[in-house]
Amino acid sequence: MSVSDIERLDAAVARLAADDSVLRLSETEAERRSGYQADTERMIMNMGPQHPSTHGVLRLVLELEGELIVRSKPVIGYLHTGMEKTGEVLTYVQGPTNVTRMDYASPLFNELVFSLATETLLGIEVPERAQWIRMLMCEVNRLSSHLLFMATNGMDLGAVSMMLYGWREREELLRFFEKVTGLRMNHNYIRPGGVAADLPDGWRDDLRSILDALPDRLDEFDTLMSGQPIWQDRLQGVGVITAEEAIALGATGPILRSTGFAWDLRRDQPYLRYDEVDFDVIVGTHGDSFDRYAIRLGEIHESMRILRQILDRMPTGDYRIQDKKVTPPPRARIDESMEALIHHFKIFTEGFKVPEGEVYVAVESPRGELGCYLVSDGGPKPYRMHIRGPSFVNLQTLPHLMRNSLIADTVAIVSSVDPIMGEVDR
């Protein structure tokens, strides 16, 4: 798509409006009108929120004409826990513990975007090694998130053995996380000012053994799925979207890239040290569910490529900034220095103050653009913290992807969008 294509974008907006594929009913109205509609000879049906293939608690209200889906609407909010409100009563030090629980399949990205936003307001840059550690952890997290997608996508389409394979590979990565951060999920590892701890002894061996074992397993996935006629029939041409429609609907990540539009914040608006590593942005051609699957498989390979470069180039140095106002002193210093004790006490009770201002920072999470809008009033807690969850915005493509498709394809399409409900509802 080129600059002159604003007309095509306009046409896509007009088409989306004319399509009438979103069933705009309130929850109450949808409940009242469920069942057969005599006037339109259509059926309004409810799917979820407790349905194994809706990836959590997504509810879809579908308007059917026979086997075809005419209009639909995702109904969300079942996992809403007010995390943005909670973020306003926690200090910047405590913040990552909160945001890490949003997209629970890729927690480190949430911590990263929150930390980057805080650091931008503070006007600090974390040390070189911390940047590379963050990159390392995020890419391993991208692997684990995409492997989870492989598992659930396979299961959703009936390739049940894929479920076990995907989970098995992810387990290795979670073990690596546990060794580095102490936790398998919700790490609170990336914090404003750096990371919580340096990499443990033997991390290179652990990572190398993962990187050595994975390519063969991925080839198995490829044989098991990509080449299979059933797999292709279930996914190819199902849930098609064009680049202009994806842009108009705010879609990012694999959905946007599946249309052939190469947009990856790691390459296009580099953060951390992504401008210093080589990798390709994987794009599709058809914008269908198969391309979205294939892109994620390709991105696993690219992440492994980045990880190999990180293994070679990991610098030495500090893993967190040596700014006493932001970083708590090492444990040993507290016993010998009154000043260290005061700093420690201050940081963990009151927190550090962040200059007044507002900032929007975005990173490329496995699901697309993960943004954090942070407003500070000069105090130790965010005045307002808003997370732009890629899953939340990507869900808007669902009614358009599902228009005029069969009920049986619903599961394939929802699966290919890969929403994480924790992030959708926040």
């Binding site: 809403h80 409100k85 909670t86 929007y360 407003v375 808007q396």
Partner: protein
């Protein structure tokens, strides 16, 4: 895009008048570039015009819409021509060609918490605008689906407002039929 006039040059040209640095303008709107981020301060009535103009400039995608309640932080930094109000609607736009971002900050008064919807220009704003309406209580004019999105339909209040307390409140469940 108009460049900011050099304050020194202004003083030389007009020595009698106190040289007030004029805010930089884009599409007639004052802009700021704090922390390297382009922010346009747009009155409510001009939102659609400015968003359309920016879209023609290459800001194709609306990535986010959110609201901020400045009840406890009224004295924030704003260009001199902008009157602070209690609420702000913040619209984030993305330019893929030049790889830049722009942000619109729209002042919304407490007495009339409404803002024009940009769904007709950016269909992707539908969900985020519903979220802002639901949690912040700012309604969007001409929004195609002005329903609650995260909170239940019968919920009272808007949780992200600053006068909506954090703390214990009775959990509101819809009446569920008993087992017997």
């Amino acid at each position: 895009m108009t460049e900011a006039p050099d304050p020194a040059a202004g003083e030389a040209a007009d020595a009698g008048v106190a040289a007030e640095p004029q805010p930089e303008l884009l599409h007639g709107m004052p802009i700021t570039r704090d922390l390297g981020q382009l922010v346009l301060h747009v009155p409510r009535d001009d939102v659609r015009r400015v968003v359309t103009a920016l879209r023609a400039d290459g800001y194709w995608q609306c990535v986010d819409v959110c609201g901020v309640d400045y009840l406890d932080h009224g004295a924030r930094a704003l260009p001199p021509t902008v009157t602070p109000e209690r609420f702000e609607v913040v619209i984030s736009l993305l330019n893929h060609t030049e790889r830049t971002r722009a942000r619109l900050r729209v002042q919304v008064p407490e007495s009339d918490p409404r803002s024009p919807s940009i769904v007709a220009i950016h269909p992707g704003a539908e969900g985020p605008e519903r979220e802002t309406a639901d949690l912040m209580g700012i309604s969007f004019d001409d929004h195609p689906d002005p329903t609650r999105i995260l909170m239940p339909d019968d919920w009272v209040g808007h949780p992200l407002r600053k006068d909506y307390d954090v703390g214990r409140i009775p959990v509101q469940f819809k009446a569920a039929p008993g087992a017997r």
